[in-house]
């Protein structure tokens, strides 16, 4: 068994050394965000500024990266979250992770601050420090064009250089979007990292793996979600369904339904702007949209961007969504935080609190404003700090739509209360994926587990958070996990009496899910129908990895990240949602259209084996092998 080898890089002294991951750590934490959370806890001091030279960014891969396992190109970045002060993990489907591995490193641990703009080059097991002064000032597209074509790349644009707190990093056209990755790079004068190599990853059981991958790909292609709707519509296809369920954030989350939402929907995108679909390396799903934008073929927007730059700012201007999506990627900014910050500024204007020249329904000046934000020009520097910071300066905390400082994704939790709990407890802040993505089972997918009923939502959230955490740690795309929703439900549809019945009774399965979570050792099998990633990991690493072990891996990861947050001073008070979602009914005539977080949170803590303050107990941490 080959153990992971990382390079530990100090930008201040321009020195690097190899860093070996122990067998114990590899077996317990595997790779990706789980192993990175362990390393961040081990290697960093409490209380450092996320944009200081002492801050550390870990860029790492997982055993599946670079193999033929489906949708397995996702590499991870873990660092101190610029927006929340807690942990950040951000993953991307760009080429960089696979190339870094081929170049001889499973991960990088980067600290310090370069004196001048710098680029790291990783080739043949060696790290070289290069000047990036000629690249500084360029955006992500131009920067990458200047770099060798065959190399895997991560670069930042103007926003990262100017420390926009939600700046992203680009690898090809794929973004490591959330939590301020780009700002961390910028604070270190790190403009780019490039990697090239030819070493193929080792596979413990190559023949069995080959057969398994073939079976899994067939399964993915035959499933209605991954074989049909994602390739056809991408995540953009969610807009109309979310709108029909009143779960589409509208007017800065004041409402959940926008009359003109169809104009920015996945169906309209497919009918009017789509050129073709595309995909990350090794992905049979190919959910990426290639669209025409001002005569140029570019990567199309995801659901979150369409929702937050459409309904949430009262806009039906699809061309503008495409343009801002492209600009944000090029300047290097997270579209979720950017769009949500703009929506908050629009509400500040509507209430007469502050005027940044943005107004609900008005989009013509957005390109200019987005550019000014990336350059931190004048008052727009305030918008570069994100929603929480703005609400602290100008007031408006009750309608500042963030959790822990990270802007909430495009799911209205008053019509998906489990998603509300997920947002409140997600380790990186208002993230749907890290939050367990119950919206898929409540309001935007084929199943509707009673969206306004808190029953079983705590237990289901824990299960989903752990499962998604494990999928991420394996280096796989979370979309590849969506096959766990049985294909038969898609054949019956959302209105079928059986689908509706399942949605009704599922709110009573909390006890069963809890038992399952406590006895994961009983899930001592692997199945294509549940989380096939476990079998893939077993065949690649040779380690014992049944579905139960896989869910334990996710639980270990979630608890490690929680421990980091607690170390950095986050408490149960931070496990909350904006006032608007907790106290203001979405439908004034329906008392159930608020998020009953107080009902769900204590059950959630108990299910997790945490104390009433949300701190993992010693017993839990020992069971997980964390202490």
């Amino acid at each position: 068994m080959k153990l992971p080898v990382y390079a530990k890089v100090d930008l201040t002294s321009k020195a690097w050394e190899t860093f070996h991951i122990s067998e114990e750590y590899f077996k317990k934490y595997i790779g990706g965000k789980c192993l990175a959370a362990r390393l961040l806890l081990d290697l960093t001091e409490k209380g450092i500024d996320p944009l200081s030279p002492e801050a550390t960014v870990i860029i790492n891969t997982s055993p599946l990266n670079g193999t033929a396992s489906p949708s397995s190109s996702r590499f991870n970045m873990t660092f101190k979250n610029v927006l929340t002060g807690g942990i950040a993990s951000s993953n991307s489907g760009g080429q960089f992770g696979v190339m870094m591995k081929r170049a001889g490193f499973d991960g990088l641990i980067i600290t310090g601050k370069a004196e001048k703009p710098t680029m790291l080059e990783i080739v043949d097991g060696t790290v070289t420090f290069k000047s990036a002064e000629d690249l500084w000032g360029m955006d992500t597209e131009e920067t990458q064009q200047k770099l060798p074509k065959a190399y895997g790349k991560i670069v930042i644009g103007t926003a990262g250089e100017n420390l926009v707190r939600y700046a992203s990093a680009a690898s090809g056209e794929r973004m490591s979007g959330r939590c301020g990755t780009g700002a961390v790079f910028g604070s270190k004068n790190l403009k780019a990292i490039i990697a090239f190599g030819k070493t193929q990853p080792e596979v413990a059981h190559p023949e069995k793996f080959k057969k398994f991958v073939k079976k899994w790909i067939t399964f993915i292609k035959n499933h209605p979600m991954t074989g049909d709707s994602l390739p056809k519509y991408g995540s953009a296809g969610i807009v109309n369904k979310a709108n029909a369920s009143y779960a589409l954030p509208t007017h800065n989350f004041k409402y959940g339904h926008f009359e003109k939402a169809d104009a920015t929907s996945g169906e309209t995108l497919a009918e009017t702007r789509l050129v073709k679909n595309n995909g990350c390396v090794s992905c049979p799903i190919r959910c990426e949209r290639r669209v025409m934008m001002e005569g140029k073929e570019v990567k199309g927007p995801e659901y979150e961007t369409l929702g937050l730059l459409g309904a949430n700012i009262d806009s039906d201007d699809l061309d503008m969504v495409l343009k801002i999506n492209y600009m944000a990627d090029d300047l290097g900014m997270d579209t979720i935080s950017l769009a949500s910050t703009i929506a908050f500024a629009m509400e500040l204007k509507e209430r007469g609190i502050a005027d940044f020249g943005v107004e609900f329904g008005k989009t013509d000046n957005l390109p200019e404003i987005v550019t000014k934000i990336a350059h931190r020009e004048g008052i727009y520097s305030d918008l570069a700090n994100g929603t929480k910071w703005l609400s602290e300066k100008y007031s408006g905390a009750g309608f500042a739509m963030h959790v822990k400082g990270l802007e909430i994704a495009s799911y209205e939790p008053r019509r998906s209360v489990g998603m509300g709990l997920g947002y409140a407890t997600s380790n990186r802040g208002g993230c749907h994926l890290n939050g367990g993505y119950l919206a898929l089972l409540e309001s935007v997918g084929v199943l509707s587990i009673d969206p306004q009923n808190p029953g079983a939502k705590a237990q289901l959230s824990v299960f989903m958070q752990d499962a998604l955490e494990a999928v991420s740690s394996s280096g796989s795309c979370l979309f590849s996990a969506q096959t766990f929703v049985p294909a038969i439900l898609f054949k019956m549809g959302p209105n079928h009496p059986v689908t509706r019945f399942i949605g009704k009774v599922a709110v009573h399965v909390g006890g069963v899910v809890n038992l399952l979570l406590k006895a994961t050792n009983l899930i001592c099998f692997n199945s294509l129908f549940l989380l096939p990633h476990a079998e893939s990991l077993h065949l690649v690493t040779g380690l014992k990895m049944k579905t139960g072990d896989f869910i334990d891996l996710g639980e270990r990861s979630f608890n490690l990240e929680r421990m980091y947050n607690i170390r950095e001073g986050l408490t149960t008070k931070d496990d909350t949602l904006p006032e608007r979602l907790l106290r203001t009914r979405q439908d004034t005539n329906d008392t159930s259209t608020v998020v009953p977080l107080d009902k769900m949170l204590p059950v959630y803590y108990k299910t997790r084996g945490w104390d009433e303050k949300g701190v993992p107990t010693e017993k839990k941490l020992k069971k997980l092998g964390i202490i």
């Binding site: 369904k241 169906e267 995801e302 935007v444 209105n495």
Partner: protein, 83 residues
């Protein structure tokens, strides 16, 4: 009631129309129209889609018993995912 019915996704492959106006008092009537006009397979497809009346899912209304008013818009939408 004269309602407008909009067909999206794979249902359009059967209807060959993006929309049409018809007389229907409930969602059941609309489904019945689809069955009679476009056949059983079209009905099967229609039933497994999201059905919305004026943009609101019939799951939030009265499912197939949802009553329709003059000038209502009934939309059939594909089920999607991602996130």
């Amino acid at each position: 009631m004269n309602v407008t019915v909009k067909y999206r996704g794979e249902l359009k492959d059967f209807t060959k129309l993006s929309e049409e106006t018809l007389s229907a008092a409930t969602i059941s009537d609309v489904l019945n129209h689809i069955k009679i006009t476009y056949g059983k397979d079209a009905l099967k497809t229609a039933k497994r889609m999201v059905i919305a009346v004026n943009g609101k899912s019939i799951l939030l209304l009265k499912n197939e018993k949802t009553t329709l008013s003059d000038r209502d818009i009934v939309t059939f939408l594909p089920i999607c995912g991602g996130g």
